[in-house]
């Protein structure tokens, strides 16, 4: 402003293009930039501090036997979290088998057939509401539907509870992946005489596959860390999974929940180690999801 005044009648500065912090607008710009960077660093802080804590507290117990041995009884030393790790994998697999077809087919309906029809709008709205469903309610629902009717806590009930959490995420992310397929590609396929089903199966779904996989991975990562839906569905077990989905099963998240409050130091240490393993799994899934989304030519 002061510079501009040196040339009467001109609205823009003529005399100097030098950058100077003395000017209010330059100073404000620098201040806001610094603030944005600072807050950006703050946003990363929780993740890295959690990772740091887990490494400090949990890394000491990391060993092959941690991953391969049964959980120890109260007051006992040794043992590992092998049954819980396997249990988490089993429950998540059951959940994926239940949620994937439902979420995927729902997405195909929404993206390719439903359009803006009333039914599609209702399905989409339900999906969005379900995304925000407190996970404990999914557990209660699975308890009522599976545990009460079959008469026992089971891996199946745990998987069902997790599937309820996964379906909306899988459906909504897959829908946006399917919608992101350029319409010119669909036009090309229609122009060659493909039927609607052929266009969907041969062009739209394969093209959207990376995005669909991302949705599945992200929903898996979220479901894997959930404790509440498993507490009164899968319960816990101190034994190995024996291939029976109708029996209670161990899981990392419930192990952490149980052991973290334990009076025995060793169990608390195991809870830390299990947390580290669980967070690593979630992190790996997230990274794989990120890589899978990239198109081949970007790799």
């Amino acid at each position: 402003m002061t510079q501009a005044a040196s040339t009467p009648g001109a609205a823009v500065p003529r005399s100097s293009f030098q950058r100077s912090l003395g000017e209010p607008r330059t100073a404000l710009n620098a201040l806001l930039t610094a603030l944005a960077v600072l807050l950006g660093l703050f946003a990363m802080f929780p993740l890295f501090s959690v990772l740091y804590m887990l490494l400090v507290k949990g890394a000491a117990l990391l060993s092959p036997s941690l991953l391969s041995e049964l959980t120890p009884g109260a007051g006992m030393d040794g043992g590992g979290i092998g049954n819980a790790l396997l249990g988490t994998v089993v429950v998540v697999t059951v959940a994926t088998i239940l949620a994937l077809p439902l979420g995927f087919m729902g997405a195909v309906y929404l993206a390719e057939y439903g359009g803006e029809s009333k039914l599609a709008t209702l399905v989409r709205f339900s999906g969005k509401v379900l995304t925000g469903l407190p996970s404990i309610l999914a557990g209660v629902f699975a308890y009522a539907m599976v545990v009460v009717t079959t008469g026992s806590f089971s891996a199946l009930a745990g998987g069902a509870a997790m599937a309820i959490l996964m379906v909306p995420t899988v459906m909504l992310t897959s829908e946006s992946a399917l919608r992101a397929v350029p319409s010119k590609m669909k036009q090309a396929a229609f122009g060659m005489g493909a039927t609607r089903a052929q266009v969907v199966l041969r062009i739209v779904v394969p093209t959207a596959m990376p995005g669909i996989l991302t949705g599945v991975m992200l929903s898996l990562a979220r479901a894997m860390g959930e404790t509440a839906p498993l507490l009164f569905t899968a319960l816990f077990s101190d034994y190995w999974f024996e291939g029976k989905l109708t029996q209670p099963i161990a899981s990392l998240s419930v192990l952490i929940y149980n052991f973290a409050g334990s009076p025995f130091e060793h169990q608390v240490a195991l809870a830390w180690a299990a947390s580290l393993v669980l967070v690593s799994l979630v992190l790996v899934l997230n990274i794989v999801a990120q890589v899978a989304t990239r198109r081949p030519e970007e790799r």
């Binding site: 090309a188 396929a189 122009g191 060659m192 198109r295």
Partner: protein, 289 residues
């Protein structure tokens, strides 16, 4: 866009003369072996909007037929009605007939999917599928359950599209990794792999640079030995360079809407050097676009 108020000069006799002009070249539908696609549009509506009226364009085999005219004159709409791509537009209604090899493709028993399988189409934007070059070209073969040698057909199609030498060493890399001009030739290869008799091209060069455009034009001249080509272009020089016949369409705004209709359809040399209609003359001189 046409901003000049030329429409007030439109008279009844004028449109009558337009139809008289092209009826010279118009044989009876299905009867004439010199017509592969006999397009006779009476009216073409999108909902209540009359998009095209009174447009008769008989397309002669082994020729390139160009559709030219100002934006919004319905030239792409006419082209898309030749393989029933307009069926995807809500509210599309059609009166008249389009005979392909003597068969009306708008007859009630006709399956539009079958029509599209036998007529190739190349679009304005290159639109290869997100799959390998090979699979792109083989797509139509798979769709038609072609039992013969796919690899041979793919190679022939790529050679036909003048792309083989550039891609023969990377047939399994993505079609999307090619340049724009190569992608468009890939789309042409994909269209000719199933050996359709007729190729429809909707402004195939508008997204390409001049060098790629010239390559595709040379390619079209080669392709007309085997195929018949109908092309929409906004580039008059292009029509002049490659088209054997040219149809000039114009916009009628008298009825309040913007309705395209045929003004003149004649061999390109005649149309460009000695246009009969005032509107054609003005358009070719570049007085409006």
């Amino acid at each position: 866009m046409n901003s000049q108020p030329l429409t007030p000069t439109l008279t009844k006799s004028d449109s009558d003369r337009a139809s008289a002009t092209h009826s010279i070249a118009a044989p009876h539908p299905g009867a004439d072996p010199n017509v592969v696609m006999d397009c006779r549009i009476k009216t073409l509506h999108y909902g209540n909007f009359l998009a095209v009226r009174d447009t008769d364009i008989p397309i002669v085999p082994h020729e390139i037929t160009a559709f030219i005219g100002p934006s919004g004159c319905g030239k792409s709409t006419v082209l898309r009605s030749l393989n029933r791509m307009n069926d995807f537009v809500d509210g599309f209604r059609f009166t008249g007939s389009v005979h392909y090899r003597g068969q009306d493709i708008y007859a009630p028993h006709v399956d539009p999917v079958a029509v599209r399988r036998s007529i190739g189409m190349v679009f304005q934007q290159p639109n290869p599928f997100a799959m390998s070059i090979y699979k792109n070209v083989a797509f139509g073969l798979k769709l038609n359950n072609f039992k013969g040698d796919h690899a041979e057909r793919v190679e022939n199609a790529l050679r036909g599209a003048a792309l083989w030498d550039e891609v023969k060493d990377k047939l399994h890399s993505s079609g999307l990794s090619l340049s724009g001009g190569q992608q468009q030739r890939l789309c042409i290869a994909r269209a000719i792999a199933v050996e359709p008799e007729l190729l429809l091209m909707d402004e195939p060069c508008s997204a390409l640079d001049p060098i790629a455009t010239r390559r595709v034009e040379d390619l079209m001249l080669e392709l007309k030995e085997k195929y018949t080509i109908a092309i929409v272009t906004h580039n008059l020089q292009q029509a002049q360079r490659i088209a054997d016949r040219t149809a000039f369409l114009f916009v009628d705004t008298t009825a309040g809407g913007r309705t395209g209709y045929l003004i003149e359809y004649r061999p390109s040399a005649e149309l460009f050097e000695d246009p009969r209609e005032e509107r054609t003359k003005a358009y070719i001189r570049g007085e409006f676009s």
